[in-house]
Symmetry: C2
Subunit: 209 residues, 2 copies
DNA sequence: AAATAATTGTGAAATAAATCACAAAAAATA
DNA sequence: TATTTTTTGTGATTTATTTCACAATTATTT
């Protein structure tokens, strides 16, 4: 099925997923669209339309089965297919991500970290080794890894990205504020942390008419 | 002016901003909408419409002045108004954010960190002190801080959020995967790191028809 | 000086997303 | 059993966003 999930929908699905995890922890079996909508401050019909996309039917007057919803969200978002990735840049952000065990439960498997600082090389973080960046091309080939999480300083971002592209990396999850130049076959996802903050700030904090 | 900047626009503005920084570093004075559009894989008329929103006129056959654009983006996104914030949770993510000096240049001023681990209390990170969480209410009041960056483990997220709300925190930038329950006067921005990844993954990596 | 090419600015059209409104279903209550 | 209430599912409407198309402008070339 070539069902295309729009970005906004998949973002909501992850929020629904968190709520399902919470409901399961609290031993609740069912949930209704108004309950979810109120929690997220959105319209309840939107929740139902999103669930329709998952082919997940609810029951009138009862709601949806929490367990079923959680499963279909995971299936739809591809949590099931584990994907291997490297973290490139073992600064604080890289290390934080390496320790972020949520990745694992969401199907992203960090195999190793890389850095160019000899001091860091051979350290272990959360059972993952830090390698010198020069080892990346070989390891990527041998382990068939084509996803890199880029957490180097902005100044080095493009140069390191070029190196990754030469190493046949096809997907770059870019945590640096640089806007990378890449060939069309390489996909970049800009995490843009400051961007999120500014959206937050613009919408709600500033506002002087 | 009560010009409302939609989320999608402000997200693009931050990307434009990064490109402007890069152009300035490379000594380039002007930039055209097709140049930017190609870089970001979007339509060039959209770039122009975004700039229109900034009241930033370009010059036919030449483009826009990079410096002017950077300034108006900063003015529009409120980079100029420094805002003070606390980081709550001094785990790896909290520490990484404390060291992320970009915050500062974008107008977000981290004053201090908090944790409940006595081992961490009184440590210094990037010239910012880690305080015991019990000190937060007083410091928030004295320093008039109403923004908190929440980086505690998911299990503690709601409980800590409740504590923050009692301490008169009004804006929570939530890096945990928990969906927080808050009263209407408190604004939450969910960073949802995994969400971004899954959007990335759904759009480009999976895709088995 | 005229022709050419690149670029802006913007209305119109197309696409996408969110909200509304309500019939149908089914649990709870009287 | 009949009535009430809650909730789903969805077509219609509205709103927002993106793309298209092109006139107007202006630097560059001939």
């Amino acid at each position: 099925m070539s069902k295309h999930i729009p970005e906004k929908v998949s973002n909501r699905l992850t929020l629904y997923h968190s709520i399902m995890v919470e409901y399961i922890e609290n031993g609740l079996d069912t949930i209704s669209s108004p309950q979810i909508a109120q929690r997220l401050g959105i319209d309840d019909s939107q929740v139902r339309k999103d669930f329709k996309l998952l082919n997940n039917a609810g029951k009138c007057r009862v709601g949806y089965l929490v367990k079923d919803l959680k499963d279909s969200i995971e299936k739809t978002l591809g949590f099931a297919h584990a994907k291997d990735a490297f973290i490139v840049g073992s600064g604080h952000l890289g290390l934080a991500l390496a320790k972020y065990d949520n990745f694992n439960s969401y199907g992203l498997n960090i195999l190793a970290l890389f850095d160019n600082d000899p001091q860091k090389v051979d350290m272990q973080v959360n059972n993952k080794q830090i390698f010198h960046i020069s080892k990346l091309p070989n390891l990527a080939k041998r382990l068939e890894v084509d996803i890199a999480i880029l957490t180097v300083p902005r100044q080095n971002a493009q140069q390191v990205a070029d190196f990754l592209i030469n190493s046949k990396i096809k997907y770059i999850w870019n945590f640096t504020p640089a806007v990378l130049k890449v060939p069309p076959e390489v996909k970049v996802w800009n995490e843009n942390i400051m961007g999120s903050f500014l959206q937050f700030a613009c919408k709600d904090i500033i506002q002087e008419d």
